[in-house]
Structures are given as C-alpha cells and as structure tokens.
C-alpha cells in the first residue's frame, strides 16, 4: 500500500500534512492519530496538501475537519476539488464549541438525586393543590361529554379488571385458607379457619388486591396516556383551547379510581371467601356452614374498614398515576419512566396508607 500521509514540520509552528491516495473508511483510521497529533503542533499554520488526494468519503472529510479543529493556528488547503473545499467550509467548527456534556461524579449524582426527590415531593404537593382547586370548576362544567369520560374510565378501570381480580381473589383466598388450616391444625382448631379468612380478607386483602391490580393496570395506563399526550403536545392543544387538562383528563380518571376501587374491593372479598372454602370443602365442611362462620366472625366495622381502604387506595393510585403522567418529560423513554414510577409509587403509597388506616381502626377499638 502506498504511503497515505507525509508530515513535514516547517519552522516556527508551521506544519504541512500531505495526503496522497484515498482517504476513506479503509485508510483514514490508520493515519488518524498520527495526523491529529501533528496538527495539534501547528501553532501558527497548518497546511493540508490535498493535491495527491484520491477518493475522500465522509470519514476522510471527518478527519480533515478534525485536523482543522485540532490545529491551534490557521488552516490552509492546498489542492483538492472545489466540492471538497465547499464541504470543509461547511464543516468548519467555531473553535471551542462545546461538544460533550461533562461527566458527573458520585457525590454530585447523589446530590442531584436528593434534589430530584425533593422536587418530586414539591411537585406532588402542588399537583394535589391543582387537583383540589379544579374540583369546583369540574363540577361546574360537568356535562354529557365529561360524564361519558368518567363512565368510560370506570369501565376501563373496573369492568375490564374483573377477570384478573376474580382470579387473584380466588387464589389469595385459597392460599390463605391452606396456610391457616396448616397452622391451626397443630393446635386442633381448624374450625377457626373461616374466621381467619373472613377477618383478613375484609380487613386487608380485599382492598389490597383491588389496589395492586389498579396500580398495575390503571395507574400505569393513566401515566402512559397522559405522558404520551404530553409528549405529542396534545396537552398543549387542550390548554390552547382554554380547557384545563386537570379538569378534562385528570379528574375523570381520579373519580373513576375512587368510585371503582371500593366496588372491586367488595368483589375481591367475595371471591377470596369463595377461594378460601376450597381446602375446607375437600375436608368435608359444608359450604353453607363455612359461609355462616365467615360472616359470624366479621362485624360492620370490618366492612367499613374495607370500604375506607378501597376509597383511599383508589384515590392514591389514580392520583399518582395521573401525577406521573403529567410530569412526563419529552421523548419515548420519558413515558416508560413515568409508567414505572406510577406503579411503584402507587404500591408504596398504598402500603403506607394501609398501615395508617389499620392503626387508626385499631386505636378506635376495631
């Protein structure tokens, strides 16, 4: 292979780089470092001698432009086609143009994460304020379209979730019953199994099943829908039409969550109780006797607790879904990120709320 590069050092910071033959994807990498190093020493003038230059593709142009950029002094071209000159002129960078983002160290990334968390909490508080402030306008502007939107969301959040809630309810009831039977067998009190099932499904699992399904299905969907609307500027379109997205989009979704979750809670309680009967039926219990002892063991306050939890969980999951949707940045991965955050935040919030509500009921004597 013929020599591609000839470098001659002139006096007082003048460097001439003569290039012969093709300068392209094949040949450029071979001479790249050497040429760039030479160019950086051209404190006064860099002469690129292109008289012997053959084919020069984009990589070649990239190298020539890089030489120009690396030279601290002037650059002059000798020879080469008019097109090449034209292209190099277009490719010329202003010296010192910022090209890359600085990398971030460990401590500053910890600091940034903390700041981001505080910003999220702050945004959540102001979002809650926005939603509260939008309740009155939402009621005032309630019309057919808005009602249909609420109804549509109720169907999506509730009716469409029935199959999976049924399945989960049955399974949890069954598992609960199997484990309780095992535990109580050792002390010979399997007759208490219906009480354990009734007590725990009413007070805990009914609402939890509903809330977790809600977070997985609807919290994520809310975040993704609203996030996509933000990315595609639909949200801005609502605003410019004089419509508040909180009123039009967020409140119907939150309402759907609040209305539907208590209903799903009741439904999953029923299914869990049915599921809980299965291990006992195989042991010769009658279904009627089982149901009787389940309902003898729970009181109205247990039902109230289920409803309160359903309501609170529904509110939290729907709010957080919408919140993360509305906070979506731009770009496709921003939507994915919001969706994940919505689900995780929803489940965490539900469990925190669960412990608070349980404690309150306990302290009230129930």
């Amino acid at each position: 292979m013929a020599e591609t590069l000839r470098i001659s050092q002139g006096e007082a910071g003048g460097v001439t780089i003569a290039i012969s033959g093709p300068l392209d994807l094949e040949t450029a990498p071979g001479v790249w470092d050497q040429a760039v190093r030479a160019a950086t020493t051209a404190t006064k003038e860099l002469v690129l001698d292109l008289t012997g230059l053959g084919v020069c593709d984009g990589v070649g142009v990239g190298l020539l432009a890089e030489l120009d950029r690396s030279a601290p002094g002037q650059t002059r071209l000798d020879g080469g086609s008019d097109e090449l000159h034209e292209l190099l002129k277009m490719a010329r960078l202003e010296k010192g143009q910022d090209t890359r983002a600085p990398s971030v160290g460990f401590f500053s990334s910890v600091g940034q994460a903390t700041a981001a968390l505080l910003a999220t909490i702050h945004a959540l508080i102001s979002f809650t304020g926005d939603v509260t402030a939008a309740i009155i306008p939402a009621i005032r502007t309630l019309n057919g379209t808005r009602l249909r939107e609420i109804l549509r969301n109720c169907v999506r959040v509730g009716a469409d979730a029935v199959p999976v809630v049924s399945f989960l309810g049955l399974l949890i009831g069954y598992i609960l019953s199997v484990q309780a039977t095992k535990a109580l067998e050792t002390v010979g009190t399997t007759s208490l199994v219906p009480m354990v099932v009734g007590f725990s499904t009413f007070r805990e699992f009914g609402a939890l099943i509903a809330a977790i399904i809600l977070a997985g299905r609807s919290g994520s969907a809310f975040a993704a829908e609203l996030g996509t609307m933000k990315v595609t500027e639909e949200m801005d379109a609502y605003r410019t039409l004089g419509l508040n997205p909180i009123v039009v989009l967020v409140i119907p979704r939150i309402l759907a969550g609040v209305i539907v979750t208590p209903l799903l809670t009741i439904y999953s309680i029923v299914l869990a109780i049915v599921g809980g009967s299965i291990p006992l039926l195989t042991k010769g219990y009658s279904f009627g006797a089982y149901i009787d002892s389940v309902f003898n063991s729970v009181v109205t306050a247990d039902f109230a607790q289920a409803m309160v939890k359903g309501l609170v969980f529904g509110l939290l999951v729907a709010m957080l879904g919408c919140f993360h949707g509305m906070r979506t940045g731009r770009g496709a991965d921003a939507v994915g990120a919001s969706t994940t955050k919505a689900v995780v935040a929803g489940i965490v919030a539900v469990l925190i709320a669960d412990s608070i509500v349980s404690t309150i009921f306990y302290n009230l004597g129930y």
Partner: protein, 258 residues
C-alpha cells in the same frame, strides 16, 4: 454496492415498475413507473396525503406494496430475505418526516450510532466524523443535547446528519426542509448538491419546496392524490413550461393565474 451480478453502470439505482399502493381496499396510488439514476437528485412532489411518504417506505422495503416491482441497485426491494434487506439498507440513508431520532441518545450519539453499528472506527474517530456531519447541517453546538431538548427544525437537520453518517449511495429525505427557515433550507440544498457531486450520492427527496426543486433537482416526479397516480416526470423547469397537464403547470407555478 455491486451486490448483484446483473448490476451494470447503467442499472438505475431505483427502478419502480407498475407500482400500486393501497391500505386494505383503499388504493392510494397506482401505475407508478420511474427510474432514478446514479448520482441524480430526484425530487418527489405532490399534494399532502398523496402517498409520498408511503412511496419511500415501499422503496426501502419497510412496507410491501399492493402490487408491482421495485429494484434498488438491481436488488429486489419487494421480495427479500431479512439478510438481503439488511444488505439493501446498508447502502441507503433515510431521514423520516418526523425526524425519528432515538430519544434516549444525544444528537451526536444519534449520528454516531450507524457508525458504531456498521464500521470499525473507534470512539474518537466516530465522534469526529459525527461532529463533522453535524457541522455540515449547522448543528455542532447542539451535539450533546437530547432530541427532546432541541427545536423541530433542529431535529430535522439532526435526522439528515444521521442519514448521511455512513455516506450511503442512496439517500432518501422525507421533507427535510419542512420547518426550516429559508437560509437553513438553502444551506441544506447546497450540502445536497455538493455531496452529489463529490461522492456521486443519489438523492431522493420528498419535498414541496419549489425553491429547492428549481435550484437543485435534476428531475421531479409529481403525484396527484385526486387522480391517484403520477402526473408528471422530468426536469422541473421543463414540466413547468411544457407539461401537457395543467395541474402540473399550476402546481409548479402557483403564483400565475390559472
């Protein structure tokens, strides 16, 4: 890219024969016939919704046409194995109407990505080549920004730079200058003309920009949504002066009274 033994210097780089485009029962265009020659700057124009974007997706084999044949540099662009499709695409650079930048990568990373996938250049070399492409479209200052952080016109130009990253033989731009100011738009025209002379790159450009058409197009294909077919093919000035079709003449000369 002599990938096929039948390729000769006269083989058109794109050869479209009796193409019919349809979505289900709805025909978009039919009887489309044209050839694009190597090194040509070929414009495709037509009213909005006439099927320009769909046509270029047929050419690169992203959507199969309802009927007809397409050859890209002698390779069948309608029936192909995944491997043949890869080989075809390796020599084609496309910028989409919406930009279609990868949103999780910076502008520079977007441009360097084809270089990373298809060449052995190291990171430093890729970056220099990428920066050069970006400065060609005037985007060097935005190199480290994410697509979400730049304007619509900048996205367009970044997409153009990415399409040029591998010095493709065939470049397809879908409305590259929509959303650009007249100055950036004529810079882009100058870049296209220069590249076509320097590297004999073939350009297929979907555009309504009459100024660009008359300053750099070798030939123009005009499509009409109403008649659902091509209504003019030839050098734009010739079409404007002497097309037998009055729609074509007025399309290219919108100022004149009908």
């Amino acid at each position: 890219m002599a990938a096929n033994g039948a390729t000769t210097p006269e083989t058109p780089i794109v050869d479209v024969r009796n193409l019919r485009m349809a979505f289900g029962p709805k025909v978009v265009l039919e009887d489309i016939n044209f050839k694009v020659h190597k090194g040509e700057i070929f414009f495709i124009g037509g009213n909005s919704g006439c099927g320009k974007s769909t046509l270029f997706k047929h050419i690169v084999g992203l959507i199969p046409p309802a009927a007809g044949e397409i050859y890209v540099d002698g390779m069948d662009a309608v029936n192909f194995t995944p491997k043949e499709h890869q080989r075809l695409l390796r020599h084609v650079g496309v910028s989409y109407q919406g930009g279609a930048l990868f949103s999780s990568m910076s502008i520079l990373e977007n441009v360097c990505m084809p270089l990373r996938e298809f060449t052995d250049l190291n990171a430093k070399e890729r970056e220099a080549v990428g920066m050069t492409k970006l400065s060609l479209v005037g985007l060097a200052p935005a190199a480290s920004k994410l697509p979400a952080e730049v304007s619509g016109g900048m996205l367009k130009r970044a997409a153009v730079a990415r399409a040029l990253a591998l010095d493709p033989d065939l470049v397809i731009f879908d409305e590259p200058s929509a959303g650009l100011d007249p100055l950036s738009s004529s810079d882009l025209d100058r870049l296209i003309a220069t590249l076509s002379r320097l590297l004999s790159t073939t350009f297929i450009i979907v555009s309504h920009e009459l100024r660009s058409i008359f300053s750099i197009a070798d030939r123009l294909l005009l499509l009409d949504a109403a008649r659902k077919t091509q209504v003019g093919l030839g050098p734009p000035k010739e079409l404007r002066e002497s097309s037998p079709d009055s729609w074509v003449r007025s399309f290219l000369n919108p100022g004149a009274a009908a």
